[in-house]
């Protein structure tokens, strides 16, 4: 029997690797946001993720070279099984740490639930094949990244900023706050205060995933995660697998009872299902008789799809197909939805075909112009990037979203190219615009327009005001041909609520609208 000390080393090794990789994940998230030259590419985890890679390539029907990095993970799985889930996956790490053991009461297996993850996987891939990547919202890496950038970090930022603002009234705190604020701004917290349209929805989904731990430990990983499903399939033929030395085993059941993913079947001589085992090595360490080891095994494992009939499988595929079809119906509703602006250089089609919903562009946009869309009228576009000028304008001297996009859904544009790329066209709502509706000067939109030849001009108009006096009012007029839809005007429009000047997708019909110049 090996001494206790060496037998615990796996636990600490695994914890260290998990912490290290989570730190790398956060470092890349923050590093890409502050524009630092990170040591590793900021989209590393998305490229390592074989699910996003496979789906993106299926949807686009072409090879995306950096996405082939996912083969590394597949290779790893071919050797070590689903080690990704216990050692690398940042969401898996968090789920490990939030086991919520105290709230759990029903032990026992939910074996038939295990198949759900294969169905989610099938749905994701089927959807991709049919041209929608919406179901990548179920990918664990994108879930965590999106929740952090658009939910948790903005929330934390709000709390910290409010606390700071409150305390700054008191002289005693000022010295400390100055240093503290300098330290966290632009690093842990964004320099500009971020608000995102669907923050709450993101957090609710995330908390929901954590809360599933109260039913079974790592419920998400065991039963739902499509990436887990993909790696589980590969794991059946992995080289190194767990084996139990029947001579040493004293049937104490400890391994079966404590396995975090319930992969061990006490009825089958404590063998484990390689598709479930995440190689956390807990059983290896805990076994009182040292009967468990991880050894090379040349034979592939038996598939364990017991309890799933052909009829059920076919039925599920039918449901999936219907689901995807419903998702794809959504574009037909597009005429009725709210205006949806996309990041510069991209089109509705590009977004739907290429975007893996990772949220890198949302994270990196320094002016918080890009938001993950909520569901809106278009379920198919859930969490795709959209520009919301009222909350953040597109900075004239920035093209970072295109540079960071891992799939090319947002094209890389040089700054001069981007500065001529039309996101939309501004239109003035004369019923709300102050100079138009109240005969009071304002000019903010004209002032902030970043173009040298401003896309908003001021027309001096002589009007009769409420008191019957003739006055000259400077009324803004959009020169449509110049406007690139950056949204500075909409962002700064001082009218409360909805702006009086708004950017709309360019439908090519603007020349026929009244008042605006072309």
């Amino acid at each position: 029997m090996a001494p206790k000390k060496t037998r615990r080393k796996w636990r600490w090794t695994r914890l260290s690797v998990q912490i290290l990789l989570l730190v790398v994940f956060l470092y890349l998230l923050i590093g890409s946001r502050v524009g630092a030259d990170t040591l590793l590419p900021s989209d590393l985890f998305f490229h390592l993720n074989p699910l996003t890679g496979l789906s993106a390539m299926l949807a686009e029907k072409r090879f995306i070279v950096p996405m082939l990095l996912g083969l590394l993970t597949i290779g790893l799985t071919l050797v070590l099984g689903r080690a990704w889930c216990s050692w690398i996956c940042p969401l898996g790490t968090l789920l490990d740490w939030t086991s919520l053991r105290r709230f759990r009461n029903a032990p026992g297996r939910l074996s038939h639930w295990r198949h759900v993850k294969y169905l989610t996987l099938a749905a994701v891939l089927l959807g991709a094949l049919l041209g929608t990547l919406s179901l990548l919202v179920l990918d664990p890496v994108t879930i965590l990244f999106r929740t952090l950038t658009s939910g948790l970090i903005p929330g934390m930022n709000w709390l910290v900023t409010r606390a700071e603002t409150y305390l700054y009234r008191y002289d005693a705190f000022r010295g400390f706050l100055d240093g503290f604020d300098n330290f966290i701004r632009g690093t842990l917290l964004p320099a500009a205060e971020p608000y995102f349209v669907p923050s709450i929805a993101l957090i609710v989904v995330f908390v929901g995933i954590l809360a599933l731990n109260t039913i079974r430990p790592r419920f998400w990983c065991r039963y739902v995660c499509p990436l887990g499903g993909l790696l589980g399939l590969v794991s059946r033929v992995s080289l190194l697998r767990r084996s139990v030395d029947q001579d040493k085993c004293n049937s104490c059941r400890r391994c079966a009872r404590e396995c975090p993913v319930n992969a061990i079947d006490s009825e089958k001589a404590y063998a484990s299902d390689p598709a479930e085992c995440t190689l956390c090595l807990k059983c290896v360490e805990d076994c009182p008789t040292c009967a468990i080891a991880v050894r090379p095994q040349p034979q592939p494992a038996e598939p364990e799809l017991e309890g799933l009939t052909r009829r059920q499988v076919l039925g599920s595929f039918g449901i999936m197909l219907a689901g995807v079809a419903l998702l794809r119906l959504a574009p037909l509703l597009r005429g009725t939805e709210q205006r949806r602006l996309r990041p510069p250089g991209t089109s509705e089609d590009d977004v739907m075909r290429k975007c893996i919903r990772c949220g890198l562009c949302v994270n990196i946009c320094p002016t918080r112009a890009i938001h993950p869309s909520g569901t809106g009228a278009d379920y198919d576009g859930t969490w795709t990037p959209m520009v919301v000028p009222r909350l953040g304008y597109c900075d004239y001297t920035c093209n970072r979203c295109g540079e960071v996009c891992p799939t090319g859904a947002i094209p890389k544009l040089s700054l001069p190219e981007k500065q001529q790329t039309v996101i939309g066209k501004a239109e003035i709502d004369e019923n709300r615009c102050i100079p138009w509706s109240q005969n009071v000067n304002c000019i903010v939109c004209q002032e902030v327009c970043p173009l040298t030849e401003k896309a908003i001009e001021l027309d001096d108009m002589t009007v009769t005001n409420d008191e019957g006096l003739e006055i000259v009012v400077r009324r803004p007029v959009v020169v449509r041909s110049r406007c690139i839809g950056c949204g500075l005007c909409e962002h700064w429009c001082p009218v409360k609520g909805e702006a009086a000047i708004r950017v709309y997708p360019d439908d090519g019909e603007g020349e026929h609208r009244r008042r605006g110049r072309s």
Partner: protein, 322 residues
């Protein structure tokens, strides 16, 4: 899970309800002690102190070395020691309104002018000199770099401060008529010396963007300032009163202000105008744009409010050729 019976349930509800009521009662009691809003004093603007013996009320320096213009114009006002004392905390507020214009477009204050001021303040023994603005387009740090200001300010020993959200505190403007409170950058109110360094620019609303307009960089919600600006801006200026206003007229943006973008709109005017009186400095600087103080509604309103004088004939002006 433990269960509770009806009695326990009712008891808990009573305790909770009572607690909530008591809290509400306490809060409403507290609000009785809240300060009454003070009666708005009509025009109690503290008059500006007269310049010391021998010093000019307003100095105008012309020449092609911006740093020398700063030095000489301040000398004419009695030297930097008149404004900055040893150990003072100084804030310099240039105009760095956007991140996409280099200095030659005259949308942002001339870096040499700012650097010269930083050096002068530090020379007078200032504890620290901070330079800051709050661009409406692009990030502050980027804008500081593009404007050329951060490089020279740091070289001169000053600090560039990115304005922190926490420091914008809702502040009462006791003399305000149109606006009585606004989120204002606290450090600008609390520092020992505030120096306002606008660049002379054309502006689509008021005709000219000068010292008083430059104060908009230290408040939030500035879009809302633009309706009735000639009322709101003087309101703000009753609270934020720079100790020195120095208008950078080395280059003047003659049209399509405040952001410009073409060199043909920029005129080399090689002038620095300095005064402790923001209205007088603005009124003189308006001439760079071919206007008079009376042509610019905000200057007119500022003078009427008693913030300073726009009557240039009644003050001692020293004109220096460098």
């Amino acid at each position: 899970m433990s269960t509770i019976d009806r009695r326990q349930f009712l008891q808990r509800m009573l305790v909770l309800g009572g607690g909530a009521l008591a809290t509400a009662a306490l809060l409403s009691l507290l609000s009785c002690f809240k300060e009454e809003a003070p009666e708005l004093p009509s025009d109690n603007i503290t008059p500006l102190p007269p310049p010391p013996e021998g010093a000019a009320y307003l100095a105008v320096a012309r020449g092609d070395d911006p740093a020398a213009l700063v030095q000489r114009s301040i000398d004419a006002l009695g030297g930097i020691g008149r404004f900055v004392k040893s150990g003072n905390d100084v804030i310099i507020k240039p105009n760095i309104c956007v991140s996409n214009r280099t200095p030659e477009y005259a949308a942002t204050t001339n870096p040499e002018v700012v650097a010269a001021l930083v050096a002068l303040c530090l020379g007078a023994g200032a504890k620290r000199v901070r330079v800051m603005d709050h661009p409406f387009s692009g990030g502050a740090e980027e804008a500081y770099v593009t404007s050329g200001i951060s490089e020279v300010v740091r070289a001169a020993g000053g600090e560039m401060e990115v304005m922190a959200t926490m420091k914008f505190q809702d502040t009462t403007i006791p003399l305000g008529r149109k606006i009585t409170h606004w989120p204002i950058y606290q450090d600008v109110l609390d520092c020992d010396v505030l120096i306002d360094v606008p660049i002379a620019k054309h502006h689509g609303l008021t005709g000219a963007s000068l010292g008083m307009k430059n104060l908009l960089g230290v408040v939030l919600k500035r879009g809302e300032f633009h309706t009735d600006m000639s009322q709101k801006l003087p309101d703000l200026a009753t609270l934020i009163r720079p100790d020195l206003t120095l208008v950078d007229g080395v280059r003047t943006l003659m049209q399509n202000g405040p952001t410009g973008g073409k060199l043909e709109w920029v005129k080399q005017t090689n002038t620095i105008i300095a005064s402790h009186d923001i209205v007088a400095a603005d009124a003189y600087a308006a001439t760079l744009l071919g206007l008079t103080g009376a042509d610019v509604s905000t200057i007119r309103a500022g003078a009427q409010r008693g913030l300073g004088t726009m009557d240039l004939s009644g003050i001692k002006i020293e004109e220096i050729a460098v």
